[in-house]
Symmetry: C2
Subunit: 153 residues, 2 copies
């Protein structure tokens, strides 16, 4: 299953390349994990991924999932987010352009956005402060349209 998933090859290629640089191996479990990630919603937790293996034939253990997620993040295949809910969220970064997030504190909905102007401004600020920036994370918290409407009445 998940044999024609768009991007699976590109991801495995990048993973393999990364693993080679660290003399690590592309195991069947790591392949399975990549497959599963493609079937996950945009943002998922380590536990979501672990759960997706319950009752599977070649089961992958929790420890392996956690270890793989760290590697994937280190290799730039996944990005991690912390929306302050006590656990990390992962998001596939390959084939997706950089973006930031609006988080509804009421219903938990997450909306993505991107602003070139903002990116430029961030670089300028970092530079001015003698900082060599490599990434950034920006979150705007509040209420989405629906929750706001519901709260106002």
């Amino acid at each position: 299953m998940a044999k024609a998933d768009p991007g699976v090859d590109a991801i495995l290629d990048q993973l393999d390349a990364f693993l080679h640089t660290k003399q690590l191996k592309l195991t069947s479990q790591r392949r399975q994990i990549v497959d599963k990630i493609l079937a996950m919603p945009r943002h998922f937790t380590a536990d979501d991924l672990v759960d997706s293996f319950v009752g599977e034939r070649p089961r992958v253990s929790k420890a392996t999932v956690y270890r793989a997620l760290s590697l994937l993040a280190e290799g730039g295949i996944l990005e991690t987010h912390d929306f302050g809910e006590g656990h990390r969220l992962f998001e596939l970064s390959i084939g997706r352009s950089h973006h930031d997030h609006l988080c509804c504190t009421k219903c938990g909905k997450i909306i993505e956005f991107f602003s070139e102007e903002m990116e430029v401004m961030q670089d300028r600020i970092a530079e001015k402060l003698g900082f060599h920036a490599t990434s950034h994370s920006q979150k705007i918290y509040g209420m989405c349209r629906d929750c706001w409407r519901a709260a106002k009445r």
Copy 2:
């Protein structure tokens, strides 16, 4: 001790006001916690605060510290940050204007910055997406001047 700390009264006032709105009480432990917070570095963890009570005469328990920190955050006296190290950092927000952070991924140093332009832009983005924004958090990760210099050679 900590009797002439600048701001302690302002903070206790705001805390007391907040507690009243929720019919809660300003206990001696909560006062002690506020005192200790004033003696903490800019960013501190719940555990730092718990530790600051070891061997004190009227000791304050871990549970109480955690409960108080939640209240203080809820009342807008503290702000919480998550720099992805597995624990929350707290920061006094009273008497301090809003700001964002540059985080050095090498040495852990945190530099604050503020940009009016950026604030305006964030509001504009939220509005355009039908979002009622209440706060935001922006972090730029990278290397500070010193670490960058050390890494280049």
